[in-house]
Symmetry: C2
Subunit: 297 residues, 2 copies
DNA sequence: ACGATCGTGAAGTCACGGTTAACGATCCGG
DNA sequence: CCGGATCGTTAACCGTGACTTCACGATCGT
């Protein structure tokens, strides 16, 4: 029987008529698409695409295969969507998680508003460690996550920005930067930046741990931390520095870490994330509440 | 999106209403079914089955999910079947492989008859090494394989028995058995039996390399060989013995190996194998030719 | 109360879905 | 007609998650 990745590879190539673009859309390498299509063709016994290195077109068998397969596969998707929809009406539980810092605080307000409107839906709020965020979303452990942007992942949707806050640099108290009133991004060229867990999206890691300053000077990278507390401990121990949002000043005051404003850094943006195929009534409702709360301070 | 194994696990449990039987049908462990269903339920957000350790029944969401999913998934299967059918009309190529010994000889006759009837279909015959047999069938490298029975694999179909031949024991020429006129299966208790590649089906390996004699005495097992020639070389080198069909006397005569009849062993049976989802017109036609040739010697 | 049956959870293993890199073919502009 | 650009294919290697095994607790019948 056909594997999901075979079906999606075939349908993507059939639509794009281009291995490279199909690969890009599915977020895999072109080589993988080529291998998958070839295996499929060996099983079917005849080429599904007539192709040179310059042109790709459906063969007659391929065209018929697409006509049969696409609606069938769409219906499989619909079956899941409907199950998720009905399985998650407003009656039930909405599971939301947040990471570190200001997350929890913001959620309290949103949850209050949401509960008021949908008293039949119970809301569970949990803290996720940085490394757990994406796995939890992917595996359905939670329906929504409050996190920092940008998150550019396939099948994960980002809501609007709910909160923007200034960026600070967390440095050891003894560090030469600790006494400064403000720092520039350019100053990062002189320090070691601690890393984020590699389960986090590449887009987010690129934003929080850039490799070069705007003027092109390279930024050194240090070890990665799995949790936010771990990160601060490493900063306190002098292993490196890290950019954080202004709210950590209220929630993570420590004797060994100082927070210095990065005056020319763009603000740190927070918002909700959810699985594209779990955009249920509850999720939409919670988003609505969050948006309103953010727009009417 | 849903993975193939998730879809099949859900549909199997929905039909059997029993994790154990569903697992058995899909040839996986019960634990795997349990894990898969649980993950599915976390994504949907609500149980698909109401279950205790004694009873399993579909929840309302589960019932609806099955109603939507089963026809959709069936249509995916149909799409593949049709592609395979049309991709493999009589016009085209039929790829057949055989393993060792008498295989090739038998196929010559069948192929002649098949070509006579379907001159528009070209036939390619290749030898497969023992270890390659199942992978080739599974991956669609060949459409048909001539091999020894019993082959009890999911999604592989066995045709009727085409040839039966007496079993011989291949032993080193210097071995005490080499001079005997005949041996009994019970004699295997005193020797080391060489093994078959572990890509071959368990059913076949159990038949060719049993672990106990009929009377219950255990049979020692030795190393495994990947090819038939390798097997005979190991026999010649005194590493162990192996049961073969009578036809090897004609095709694999060697100075270092003697073949002694196993008078009380059931005959070795040969027949064709093919993928259940590749039972095309060509495959059926070749089978027909084979059956006729076998029944009218 | 006991054994039998069954689903679940944790821990460990390995096939296979995936990558990277080098390559050969096709087409285009100069 | 050549050099470069684009694209699909292939080989070799790698890490993850689909699997297994094992131990356990729950739920029946007798």
């Amino acid at each position: 029987m056909l594997e999901r990745h075979e079906i999606e590879a075939f349908l993507a190539v059939a639509e794009e008529l281009h291995f490279g673009r199909a690969a890009e859309r599915l977020r895999v390498s072109t080589a993988r698409i080529s291998q998958t299509i070839r295996k499929l063709e060996r099983r079917v016994g005849v080429p599904l695409f007539n192709r040179t290195s310059r042109r790709v077109e459906l063969s007659s068998v391929g065209r018929r295969f697409e006509e049969d397969l696409r609606p069938a596969w769409d219906r499989v998707g619909d079956a899941l969507t409907r199950a998720v929809e009905t399985g998650r009406g407003f009656a039930g539980t909405l599971r939301v998680c947040f990471t570190g810092a200001a997350g929890g605080q913001l959620l309290v307000g949103v949850t209050e508003l949401f509960r008021e409107r949908h008293p039949e839906c119970s809301v569970e709020i949990r803290e996720a460690q940085m490394a757990e965020l994406m796995p939890w979303l992917r595996d359905g452990v939670v329906d929504l996550a409050l996190a920092t942007f940008p998150v550019d992942e396939p099948s994960i949707v980002s809501g609007p920005v709910l909160v923007s806050e200034a960026r600070l640099l967390a440095v050891p108290v003894g560090h030469r930067f600790a006494a400064r009133d403000a720092l520039s991004i350019e100053d990062l060229a002189g320090v070691t930046l601690l890393g984020l867990p590699d389960t986090l999206p590449e887009s987010l890691r690129a934003d929080r741990t850039p490799t070069v300053t705007p003027s092109g000077r390279t930024i050194r990278h240090g070890r990665s931390a799995a949790t936010f507390q771990e990160m601060l401990t490493m900063v306190g121990a002098g292993e490196g520095v890290f950019t954080v949002g202004a709210s950590v000043r209220r929630y993570y005051t420590r004797p060994d870490v100082a927070y210095v404003p990065l005056h020319d850094a763009p603000p740190l943006q927070w918002g909700l994330l959810w699985r594209a195929d779990s955009a249920t009534a509850r999720v939409r409702g919670f988003n609505e509440a969050a948006r309103e709360l953010a727009s009417t301070p």
